[in-house]
């Protein structure tokens, strides 16, 4: 059956062209999905290989050709890894450091940002610029004097060097929080002041509850940075039992001939808290990064 295009009604023509457009769009989507899935597979390959290895038998590690998905997954490997390496201990140490740093950041950062965002006083801008410029100073430059200081104070091999700085505010968080507080209308402060609230009452009852998005960014970043930190713990800690998970894993890798099937399981376990926090907080994380990306 042949249809003369000239005899098609206008609405029929319109329908055909939309159908064509839709088909082209679908094809375009299919190509993009194919590209994205292929890329995602490439990117996830190292993690997939780690997971796959963690479920193998020792003799399967060197098998040729390698098995991509173990036919007989050894879930017991994880129990064995926890028995062989003090993983639980290391993760607990990391958790202690994370909590202590989060508490420090939450106590210090809002107060300092409040000073910058809400009050006028001599040298405020100088102090603000000084703080911003400290964001550019690479941390390594401070390590030797701080190490010597902590050594003199007998704080080497304690958690203090890894915790204390958070209680005095980190420039990046102060900056982020100050910017956020500036977007909160001052009328709210004034209303509270008329109701008899003092400056600290205004901070804790009015401003901090409104800062929840910025506070979430502080918590999430503090978690990630503390959990992943490596250079400072290897310098300030010596006792094996006090190592956080990052140092603990590196220590075992460097010192013993490792059983890779157990060790890959241990590494996978070590990143699970990060992945959980990341999945639940990615909106805030990306928002926080975007905020520095645009304003910074």
């Amino acid at each position: 059956m042949r249809i003369d295009p000239a005899r098609l009604s206008a609405s029929e023509q319109l329908r055909r062209s939309t159908r064509q457009r839709r088909a082209r769009k679908l094809l375009g989507h299919a190509i993009i999905y194919a590209v994205m899935i292929a890329l995602a597979c490439v990117f996830m390959l190292p993690i997939f290989w780690m997971a796959s290895t963690s479920l193998k038998l020792p003799r399967e590690l060197m098998a040729w050709p390698p098995e991509w998905i173990p036919s007989n997954p050894q879930w017991g490997n994880y129990a064995e890894a926890f028995g062989k390496y003090p993983l639980a201990r290391y993760m607990l140490n990391s958790a202690i450091l994370v909590i202590a740093n989060i508490v420090g950041a939450l106590l210090s950062v809002p107060v300092i940002a409040y000073g910058f965002a809400r009050f006028d006083f001599p040298f405020k801008n100088v102090l603000f610029i000084l703080m911003l410029s400290m964001m550019m100073v690479p941390g390594h430059i401070k390590l030797i004097p701080l190490y010597v200081l902590y050594l003199r104070l007998g704080l080497i091999d304690t958690y203090w060097p890894l915790i204390l700085p958070s209680y005095f505010g980190s420039p990046f968080f102060i900056f982020l929080m100050t910017q956020f507080m500036r977007t909160i209308p001052r009328e709210l402060d004034d209303a509270a002041r008329i109701d008899g609230a003092g400056p600290w009452g205004i901070l804790y009852r009015i401003i901090i509850p409104l800062c929840r998005p910025a506070l979430t960014v502080v918590v999430v970043f503090t978690f990630l940075w503390t959990w992943n930190d490596f250079l400072e713990p290897i310098i300030f800690l010596r006792d094996y039992d006090s190592f956080p998970i990052s140092v603990g894993l590196a220590f075992f890798q460097g010192r013993y001939s490792i059983e890779w099937h157990l060790f890959m399981g241990a590494t996978l376990v070590s990143i699970i808290p990060i992945l959980v926090v990341y999945f639940f907080a990615q909106r805030h994380l990306i928002g926080g990064l975007a905020a520095i990306g645009i304003k910074g």
Binding site: G115, D120, F230
Partner: protein
């Protein structure tokens, strides 16, 4: 000053006091002390002895390790930085396509950027294992004999760079935020004027993205110079110092050999390199960074 102003100033300084203490203890003191130590010889066992410029003379004239660590670090920056900037942008353009389910891809590509350097290093030791690793296995399917990666003099540094490029999702996410800030009406106007996709990218997207590119360039630059964990965990600086990165050299001098004076000079040198690279980028930025208004 009125009473109110005075009261404000008092509250303001009180609020800032933790930071001011922190600034003195954790920033000003260590930075000044590092400068002072760099003119001393000091092994912690005895008090420091003033040696003037000796540390710097040694560094610039008779320290082969200084040269090789500087070379390794510079090479790493040159390989990884541009690659990451370009690939990050390409990935961000893909992730910015308005297609259902894109959020899931964003989540996936960002994962490598949030995992700790130690976990990533351990994962990649096994991933690039010359005998049983995935990459060499895949290559063998095509009849290619893969290199020894971290254990090969010429491949070790590129291997570390590849690892760092794997974290490109972190850059892509920041680009993405920049892309989403470009007002849609600009594209609509260009489309009405009949501009092709290609010219829309060069005339609208790229110029408006230059502030993000600029920010990203500085962040990645500072980060690349500070590469450390991979050398510590995977290569120990080898083979033949090919991955003996500057910060790793500093770490060994300071905390393994206890040469606090010389290590301070190294630390300062790295600071100067990073700061001058940053200043250079900022200086040139006026020529290529486009700010609206």
């Amino acid at each position: 000053m009125t009473t109110q102003e005075r009261r404000d100033a008092k509250t303001g300084y009180l609020a800032l006091s933790p930071w001011m203490v922190g600034f003195v203890v954790f920033y000003a003191f260590p930075i000044i002390a590092t400068i002072y130590f760099s003119f001393n010889e000091w092994t912690l066992a005895e008090p420091p002895t003033w040696v003037g410029l000796d540390n710097y003379v040694r560094m610039f004239t008779r320290d082969p390790l200084f040269v090789s660590s500087l070379r390794a670090t510079t090479l790493f920056v040159i390989i990884s930085l541009p690659t990451k900037l370009v690939l990050g942008l390409m990935l961000a353009l893909l992730l910015n396509l308005k297609i259902p389910g894109m959020n899931a891809f964003r989540t996936i590509f960002f994962i490598p950027a949030v995992i700790s350097g130690v976990a990533v290093s351990l994962m990649w030791i096994w991933f690039l294992n010359p005998d049983t690793g995935v990459v060499n296995t895949l290559l063998s399917y095509f009849g290619i004999r893969g290199p020894l990666w971290f254990w090969d003099l010429h491949w070790a540094l590129p291997s570390v760079a590849i690892m760092s490029i794997w974290k490109v999702g972190g850059a892509a996410i920041i680009y993405l935020a920049g892309l989403q800030n470009i007002p849609a009406h600009l594209y609509e106007a260009a489309e009405i004027d009949g501009a092709s996709k290609w010219s829309r990218f060069w005339r609208i997207t790229l110029p408006l993205l230059t502030p993000t590119l600029f920010f990203q360039l500085i962040i990645e630059l500072i980060d690349a110079f500070k590469i450390f964990t991979e050398a510590y965990v995977i290569t120990h600086g080898g083979p033949l110092k090919s991955t003996y990165f500057f910060l790793y050299y500093f770490y060994e001098e300071a905390f393994r050999n206890a040469n606090m004076g010389y290590a301070s000079a190294l630390a300062l040198f790295l600071l100067v390199v990073i700061l001058s690279a940053t200043v250079f980028v900022v200086r040139t930025s006026k020529g290529w960074v486009y700010y609206e208004n």
